[in-house]
Each structure stands twice: as C-alpha cells, then as structure tokens.
C-alpha cells in the first residue's frame, strides 16, 4: 500500500509549479492552512491578501481574470463554493478564467464541526454551467489538475482533501472528462470514489478482493464533465456499483452517476455511501467517518 498524505499540503507547490507570470492567488486569511503561503513566499507581488472576505475575494478573482490574469481563488471548500456562490455564478456566466481551489472538503475539517464541513460544495458547483469540477486523489493528480486548470480557459473548481489519503500511482494520464480506473479485475462490483474517500475505498476493495470478488476501483477525478462513455459501459456490465463520497449523497457524486445512468437509460445497481442529508458535528474526521458511515466496512456492506 502506498503512503498516505494530506493533499492540501501541496496546493502551494502545485500552483508554484505553473510557470506563468499571469498566475495570481487570492487568499482569505487562510494561506497557512491552504498552503498558498508557499506561493506568497515566491511571488509576493502576485499574492492578493483579501482578508476575511470570501465574497469580495471571489469577485476580485473575476476582475483579475477579465484583465487577462489567471487567478487562483483558494480557501476552504465551504468558504469558496458556499460563501461566495453568487459571485462564482457570475464568473461562470461570464465564462471567466478563474480557478477555485477548495481545501477541507466534506468532514475533513472534523473538529471544527458542521459549520466548517463542506458536504454541499459538489452539488453547488456541479449545477453551474461552464464550471469544470475536478477532484484529485493523489499528489501527481493534484499537480496535473492545477496545471490543466491553469492552461485551459474557463472556470475550474478543484476539491483538495485535507484528510490523509492513499498516494497511489495512477497509470492513467489525467484528462478532463476521464475517470482514473485503478483496478479492473472483473464485473462483480465497482467502487467509484471521489478524492477524499480514497483510503476507505482502497481498503474496501482489498477486503472484497480477499473474499474472492472480482471488481473495479475507480477514481472519478473529473466530476464534471463526467466520463459518460466509461460509465455507460460500466453501468451496463457491473453487478453492483457503490459511489463513495465525502459529501452529501444529494447532488454530489451519487447524484451525478444517477443522472448519467438515468439519462442514458442504464439500469445500473447503484448504491450511495456519503452523508445522508444531515448536518454533521465536531469530532476527528476518522470518528465521523465511523458515525456517518464512510468506512471501508460500510462500503463492503453495500456489496455483500
């Protein structure tokens, strides 16, 4: 098994990796938590401290983009997609070249409690036209997502885990609209996960494999656009599919997959793992995963 890491530790490095003087970063007094402090160290003149001001920071990003800059608006998931949603909506309406990076998705910010958890951001982001939604699940993929976002016109949202995840090596090159299929050993089952649930998904896959089941392990990566061709084929062949998300089961990964299957008339056996339409609470994120049913055991139970 690969090492576990917290991807948010590499947000600053991933942006620093973009060799383009038009790249800028806006912060809302959280650069130490989101690690954009590392961008500030290298490029102080391109780092815009906005203070605790999520809405204005988002609109400032919009203004920067209108003048040809490539702004990265970085904050906790709920403070970007949540607090500044109407500002983001205008960015998407203008198809402006703004890149949003959210850290601390789902219940990753466990101890701070439900106010700081982000179990709605995928739903809020997915519904916006023009917005590409990426959800990396290993370090190399984070760097690829940031690079693709910087080099592709239009608004992007990149959801970056705070919790420890498995830093596995993808064999597939990151592409917008393509899943990262990690294992394909058969069609007994499939686990499709989004970035911050990769540890429990890997563990569940191992447990199921040891029980003699042959299945697939899939990192969705591109939440929007979806890899429709792959999913239609998967939904037609696989006995049982479980979606795993550190997010509400309403409007996020499960919602996206269900829409894909229904629109394409695929009668897939799809089961959700995720937060079930409730506000969560303070505790460590591992304790919360047990209480709210996001563990490997919970995933296994949906298959057997």
């Amino acid at each position: 098994m690969a090492d576990t890491i917290s991807l948010r530790n590499y947000i600053g490095q991933a942006i620093n990796n973009i060799d383009n003087p038009n790249v800028m970063v806006t912060d809302g007094d959280l650069s130490k938590s989101t690690k954009t402090s590392e961008f500030k160290s290298l490029h102080p003149s391109r780092f815009i401290q906005c203070g605790i001001s999520e809405t204005s920071a988002m609109s400032i990003g919009y203004g920067l983009a209108l003048e040809g800059k490539i702004p990265f608006v970085v904050n906790f998931c709920t403070f970007t997609i949540g607090s500044a949603w109407t500002q983001l909506r205008m960015i998407c309406y203008a198809n402006a070249n703004v890149k949003i990076i959210g850290s601390h998705p789902g219940i990753d910010n466990g101890l701070d409690g439900a106010s700081h958890h982000s179990c709605e951001d995928l739903a809020l982001a997915r519904v916006l036209p023009n917005l590409t939604v990426l959800d990396p699940a290993n370090k190399a993929q984070l760097f690829e997502c940031v690079e693709i976002a910087a080099n592709t016109p239009g608004p992007f949202y990149i959801r970056v885990p705070r919790a420890e995840i498995v830093d596995y090596k993808s064999k597939n090159k990151m592409e917008i609209g393509k899943v990262d299929e990690i294992y394909n050993q058969g069609d007994d089952f499939a686990i499709i996960f989004e970035g911050s649930t990769n540890a429990s998904s890997f563990e569940a896959f191992d447990l199921l494999s040891k029980k003699g089941l042959k299945g697939r392990l899939i990192n969705i990566v591109s939440v929007k656009p979806l890899d429709n061709d792959y999913l239609i084929d998967l939904g037609s062949k696989v006995q049982k599919i479980v979606s795993v998300e550190n997010h509400s089961i309403i409007g996020g990964l499960f919602g996206a997959l269900a829409e894909c299957f229904m629109i394409n008339n695929i009668n897939a056996k799809l089961v959700p793992i995720g937060i079930r339409d409730t506000f969560t609470e303070s505790a460590t994120s591992n304790e919360l995963k047990i209480k709210y049913g996001l563990t490997a055991k919970d995933i296994v139970k949906t298959i057997i």
């Binding site: 001001s53 809405t55 204005s56 990003g61 919009y62 209108l66 500002q87 203008a94 198809n95």
Partner: protein, 268 residues
Amino acid sequence: MEQIDDLKNQVIQNKITLMEMLHESKSGHPGGSLSCMDILTAIYEKQIDFSKAERSKVVLSKGHAVPAVYSILNSKGIISDKEVLTLRKLNTRLQGHPSVVKIPEVDASTGLLGQGISIGIGMALAKKQNNSYEKVYVITGDGELVEGQNYEALTQAAFYNLNNLIVFVDLNKLCLSGTTKDNMDLGDVDLKFKSFGWNCIHINGHNMDEICKALTIVDNNQNKPLAIICDTIKGNGISFMENDPAWHGGVVTDELYTQAMKELKGAK
C-alpha cells in the same frame, strides 16, 4: 465649452436611443438608466478608447442600467441601429443585464448588486501588475450600497492604494420600494467612503461641467481610490419619470413614448 455642449447633445441623443429601445422592448429600467446617462456618456466619450488594446474599463455594478450603455455603444457603432431595438428579445445579444460573453465591450457581466466594486478591484490590481496607466470606472447605484460586499471592497481598495479605481455613485435616492431614506437609510455616503480611506468628491451628476472637472481629478489622483458621489434624479430628462420610483421599471407605452421623445427632441 464646445466640448461640454457636444457632450450634452450626446447625452440627449443617447436618451433618445434609450427610449426607442425601452419602447420597443416594453421592459427594462428607465429610471436608473436615465439617472446615470450623463455620467456614463462623459466616461465613455472622454476616458474610453475602444481602438486601444489596453484601455480603461467600465464596470456597471448597477447592471440593470445597461440599456444606457447599449445606447452609448450604439452611438459608437458597436451595436447597430437594428440590433439596439432587440433589447430583451429572444436570441438577442442585448441581455437585460450586461453579459460580457454576448457583448465583450460591456467589460464585465454584472447584475447581482453589490459585486461591482470588488470586480473593479481585481481589474485595477491587474492593471497595476501590467504597469498600465489605464483606469477602472465602477458605476454603483445608491440602493445597492446597502449590500455588505461593498464594504469588504472599500476596505480592500484602500488597503491596496488603488488610485486607478474610480467609483461613481449614482445617488438618485430612490429604490424600487420608494426612497432609499425610508427604505434603508444610507446615512452620509461621502463619510462612508472617506472613513474607509478613499478620496471623495461630491458633484451634481447632471452637470456636465462638474462631471468633466471630476474626471480631471481622476487623471491627477494621487494615492487612493476615488469616489465621486453624484447627486442625480431618477428618470432625469423625462418629466413624468423624474423622481417617481414607479419608473424603476415600467412599460413605455406608445403615448408616453411620444411624450418622452417630444421632451427629449425639444431639449436638443
């Protein structure tokens, strides 16, 4: 003086185009478009040069006044006489609020009130990054100054000493529900800007001499963002619309259109 008279005549021509548009669309926002027409005409005539690749920009924070901008873009040949009559109609580029995707010359998609100053900050910061001497002009209504995001923006613009950012406040003292004083009193708007660290001047937003003098200050502004608070009259120039909150929106009927055109052409 000659230039001032030219600008005044252009304002009347723009108002005529505006009435033609609103009469044809039977929808739109006449009152707030008319209150900022002098300001917008002066900015576009004096400060905006569409032939330059890097130029000053206008952010219409009070996006509902976009018919005023469309009429100005019509005068510049960017929107044709035929197209200008398609306001708010199916498949038009002339959306009810500015869309930079449909018409790049509007500079920013706006319409959700209270966001324009922040957008202007981003543009002003980018211009400084690019060592450009061009400016960013934001037009806000007074009603929208209740929106909290404005005060995040006022703090940030002062912090970054954005002397290339100019906010014109179209202080027409009316909102949809009635007077701003009765609806949500803003208190002393000048003092608000000053206390946030902005330079601030207060002018008559229908006096072209004063507007042009204010734009001279813009060119020599030292080290702070500048607010130009403009006393204006909602529905300015059309007697039955002036100071009547009902003309925030409202349909310009054939009869009222005839009267409005008579008044505007009489003012020429």
